[in-house]
Symmetry: C2
Subunit: 212 residues, 2 copies
Amino acid sequence: MRIAVAIYEDFTALDVIGPYEVLAGLPDVELDFLATSAGPIRSDNGLIVTPTATPESLPDPDIMLIGGSSKPFGPLQDEALLAWVRQASDSATWMASVCTGALVYGAAGVIKGRKATTHWAAREALPAMGVEMSTDRVVFDGNFVSGAGVSAGIDMALSLAARIYGDETAKAVQLAIEYDPQPPFDSGSPEKAGPETMQLVMEMFAASAAAS
Amino acid sequence: MRIAVAIYEDFTALDVIGPYEVLAGLPDVELDFLATSAGPIRSDNGLIVTPTATPESLPDPDIMLIGGSSKPFGPLQDEALLAWVRQASDSATWMASVCTGALVYGAAGVIKGRKATTHWAAREALPAMGVEMSTDRVVFDGNFVSGAGVSAGIDMALSLAARIYGDETAKAVQLAIEYDPQPPFDSGSPEKAGPETMQLVMEMFAASAAAS
């Protein structure tokens, strides 16, 4: 099972590292971080990662995974990335996204008419791309599976692992990464967070955008 | 707020990337990945990260964070790492660990008599180091906070963020990373997983150890 995790300048690290840790724990998996540019790639919060594959070296993975970014527009204009997405999606058994990674598939035109979820702040972008928007945390539509924002990639990848390897193996991976979440607050979605937390997070997003 | 996330050969990526994504989202934070060796560091599942700090460049962070490894003994014998842990813990406001990262503090001798949690498979190592073992997911003892295995780092870091910045800010970060976990199974701890899943995960650990 060859897995390509696409990364690009300003990717959000947890979007892809959650699923990577789940999928890399599965039997007979070969996992690469793929980028269209040479040299290390910097995440939006400063993690510097050296890619291990290029579109030329990995044109036809069995599973392709694309995460999102707090600066989601960059990858949507990256023609080399979109070209790889179009090519790889032709033969991939599974296409997976986390967060605004769904928009990358949308921009590549390979999920037209399908249903997808994304980060709550980016939901409106999906219908504009001809993609049906869902607010669910994990959404399967044919061979395309999407997870909501950032941390949702762990839930997405465990669900995908269950589809491919069966429930028992997925349960074992969940135990291996001790995924028995106990979030300190119940503020993880806009529906649960309430208006004050929502206002605060929008101020944080604005401050972060102004600083960059 | 200067944060040092220590990484070392064969570190488990999600252990540190969970907390990194939480802490990097806080106001006025400068976060570095610190290593005692030069050049890129390879995680146990193949993520290649370039460190941005050394013990010399960051001897006195405000927060120090150490994650674990599926090969936990390596860092316990890394004298340069242990020396930095001893030095940095002298002045750090917070010492944080995830997974077998607690064992690194234990080996450095800086949490003697304190209470800590770690990955379920490594619990027995703590008493042997003079550290009181807890099976809780997140444990505070003075200025030392520990999280259980791998994914527990997200819960740990949100709890720590709440202590430092207050609940409202931590709630906003939780919303920013859409941390509204919906694990597909209830198998995330040995207590919940049952004997069959437990046996399967032990076989996976053995196969992974044999392959490496």
